[in-house]
């Protein structure tokens, strides 16, 4: 069953086209890698699918809802309740502890503080960083920070997780460990994952790969994993 679909999506930044008539369907529970060289529009596509950006033309549908016509407020609520997002850099609030950072989406949804903290520590534990629950981001390693960010993205048990170069700032061992955890948890939760990357090793964790080139889905279907051989899992 298709959970997320882009139909003829066009997006430009001023005179520079980023996406040119992109069509994409994502099945529920699927782990999909969006790959391509720098500047091909993969992050823009992810942001459009997550409702962070509104396309200039075309449609984005989530389930049966066309979300690109929704107001910013409705799309924010959707991201807060149904989606999780994970980026490469600086996502954690420097002044909050790891547990408070992870608990933030739950607090926004009206969960009590004690309950939110318990859930946050539980997710930190599942990602192997419960020991830094009361530590601030500045005192953590890059890998620990990214695991906390992943815990924050997953704490609301989202139906779709959007990850934009989630391991771009990590070394290969830490990347593998984090991706392994993410994939395991996604399968456990039946969470759909959209993973933007230009790294073949990262793309290898996906069930399927879509390659972009110059704002279009590459018609040859030859992505990074096809070019370099599938490995990693």
């Amino acid at each position: 069953m298709t959970i997320l679909r882009a139909r003829s999506v066009v997006k430009s930044y001023g005179p520079t086209p980023a996406l040119r008539l992109v069509d994409l369907a994502v099945a529920e529970g699927e782990i999909l890698a969006i790959t391509g060289p720098s500047g091909c529009g993969k992050s823009t596509l992810l942001h459009c699918l997550a409702g962070i950006l509104r396309p200039d033309a075309g449609e984005i549908t989530y389930g049966e809802h066309q979300i690109d016509t929704w107001s910013e407020k409705m799309r924010s609520r959707l991201r807060r309740t149904e989606f999780g997002v994970l980026f490469q850099f600086g996502q954690l609030v420097a002044e909050l502890t790891a547990a408070e950072n992870v608990a933030l989406p739950l607090l926004l949804a009206g969960t009590g503080r004690r309950e939110a903290r318990t859930a946050a520590v539980g997710w930190l534990d599942r990602l192997g960083v419960a020991d830094v629950a009361d530590v601030r981001p500045g005192e953590m390693s890059g890998g620990q920070q990214q695991r906390c960010a992943a815990a924050r993205a997953l704490v609301t048990e989202p139906r779709v997780l959007f990850a934009d170069e989630p391991t771009g700032a990590l070394d290969s061992r830490t990347s593998e460990a984090l991706l392994g955890e993410l994939v395991r948890l996604a399968h456990e939760q039946r969470t759909t994952v959209l993973l933007v990357t230009h790294d073949a090793q990262v793309a290898a964790y996906a069930d399927r790969e879509v390659a972009l080139r110059d704002g279009l889905v590459d018609p040859t279907g030859l992505g990074l994993t096809a070019a370099q051989g599938r490995h990693g899992r």
């Binding site: 962070i52 997002v85 996502q91 002044e95 933030l104």
Partner: protein
């Protein structure tokens, strides 16, 4: 490095660096104008201790007794101006730090990297002084025009001595560069980035309270000291009274400003303990993480409130004195209204200076709020992208400013009032009549409202940065 290279590297930053240089130059323009104006007032020829010059329409310039106060007030204005310059120097600091690290990576020594940073402030200050001198000398002929009564509005017919102008022109950039070097003392610029030497991680203690008590006791001891000398038929030395007065007021002001650090920390802990909202949680953690932010940001504003509270109480005191004077038989016979009317004019001048200072301090607050948002833009952009409404972030910024400023303003009002209490007493006597002293609650409330209102307005203006700083583009920069 050749001076030309240093200057080129100092001014080679991004748009934010350009804004910082422009704002630093602007604050130096204001400082130069305040100092040159003070020097001009000093240059007005003295005809005698009690003899008016008869050249100016405004008594603040014409009466020799008021000119000292005018000079003092103009120099006082440099305090919020310096605070503004301090705020400006923090604007876009992370980007500047990355640029300096890039210079180190290219082979610059730590000293050369610091020199480039200091040179940026120095060059901005030189530009500011040049602009300030230009404005000062250009405005003089434009404003010079005696009215039909032959009186001028401003002292545009006198000039400070050239050496004083030259000292100002040289000293301001030097002071600015030295201040920049001082601010960088904890910063270690390395090729891989900038490290700030860790500050003491201890929570602030309420020791500024001791400074406040010391200030109040010192200032309050002036009257007993005067009595002590009077009992022995001697007059108290001026240096002792001036030291006690100025030292006591300074200690109390510093106590209020430094006390804001403890207030921020305590308020942040209470907010964290009892609040249920995510916006309050964000603000509470910022307050406990950097409690001295409030002391740095609100220093000029709190100094204004402190001076304003004292001035308001003195105004009430002089009003009662004047009323008693006019109500007395002697006053009614001779139509006396000289002495206390004179002092009320001085208080008017202080009020005017405070309003100007609050406006300047508010400009510094806008810069501070904007800098706070811009430096957190990646984390804020990630929160917005994950569905956190911008309103939550806006409320957290408002909490972060209001939670420490409200109790700090109350403290400044209480300390300012208490400092003056030994002067005003509970009962005012004049010309054989007496009346109970009436506190200037309306003026005190007005000063409090002005300060808190200024903070709310500046946060509102600063929030204009929030939308652009949480744009999706911020997620793409590492």
């Amino acid at each position: 490095m050749k001076p030309g290279t240093v200057a080129r590297l100092a001014l080679a930053g991004s748009r934010t660096d350009g804004v910082r240089v422009a704002l630093t130059a602007f604050s130096v323009v204001l400082a130069a104008l305040a100092i040159l104006s003070a020097l001009t007032v000093i240059a007005i020829p003295e005809l005698g201790a009690y003899e008016n010059n008869g050249r100016y329409r405004n008594a603040l310039l014409d009466e020799p007794g008021l000119r000292g106060g005018t000079v003092f007030t103009l120099l006082l204005l440099t305090i919020p101006i310096l605070a503004l310059a301090g705020q400006c120097s923090r604007l876009g600091a992370p980007a500047r730090d990355r640029r300096l690290a890039g210079l180190r990576l290219a082979g610059a020594t730590p000293g050369q990297a610091t020199l480039v940073a200091v040179a940026e402030t120095g060059v901005a200050a030189v530009l500011g002084v040049a602009a300030g001198l230009g404005v000062f000398f250009a405005a003089r002929p434009l404003l010079d025009g005696p009215g039909s009564d032959g009186l001028r509005a401003l002292p545009t017919d006198v000039l400070p001595p050239l050496w004083q102008v030259a000292v100002t022109a040289v000293a301001l950039p030097l002071v600015a560069a030295l201040a920049a070097a001082l601010l960088l003392r904890r910063v270690v610029v390395g090729p891989l980035g900038v490290v700030r030497r860790a500050r003491r991680n201890r929570a602030p203690l309420p020791w500024p309270g001791a400074l406040i008590v010391l200030g109040l006791v010192t200032f309050g001891s002036i009257a007993p000291v005067l009595r002590w000398f009077s009992d022995r038929e001697r007059s108290a030395p001026d240096w002792l009274l001036n030291t006690m007065g100025a030292g006591g007021a300074l200690a109390a002001t510093l106590g209020v400003i430094l006390g804001t650090g403890w207030i921020s920390y305590a308020a942040g802990r209470l907010l964290h303990r009892f609040s249920r909202w995510p916006s309050a949680l964000l603000a509470a953690r910022r307050l406990t993480n950097d409690p001295w932010h409030g002391a740095r940001t609100f220093a000029a504003l709190l100094a204004c409130v402190f001076v304003g509270a004292g001035a308001a109480e003195m105004r009430s005191f002089f009003r009662i004195m004047r009323d008693l004077e006019t109500a007395s038989a002697e006053g009614a016979n001779y139509g006396l209204d000289s002495g206390d009317g004179f002092y009320l004019n001085t208080i008017d001048l202080v009020d005017l200076a405070i309003v100007v200072a609050v406006v300047i301090a508010a400009t510094g607050l806008v810069v501070s709020v904007g800098e706070g948002i811009v430096s957190r833009r990646q984390a804020y952009a990630a929160l917005v992208a994950s569905g956190v409404p911008r309103a939550v972030l806006a409320r957290s910024i408002l909490w972060h400013s209001l939670v420490p400023i409200v109790p700090s303003v109350v403290l400044a009002l209480v300390v300012g009032t208490s400092l003056i209490a030994p002067v005003t007493g509970d009962e005012v006597s004049n010309y054989g009549l007496s009346a109970p002293f009436v506190h200037a609650y309306d003026s005190l409330a007005a000063y409090g409202a002005l300060a808190v209102g200024a903070v709310i307005v500046t946060v509102g203006v600063g929030l204009l940065f929030l939308r652009s700083s949480t744009a999706v583009e911020e997620l793409r920069t590492g």
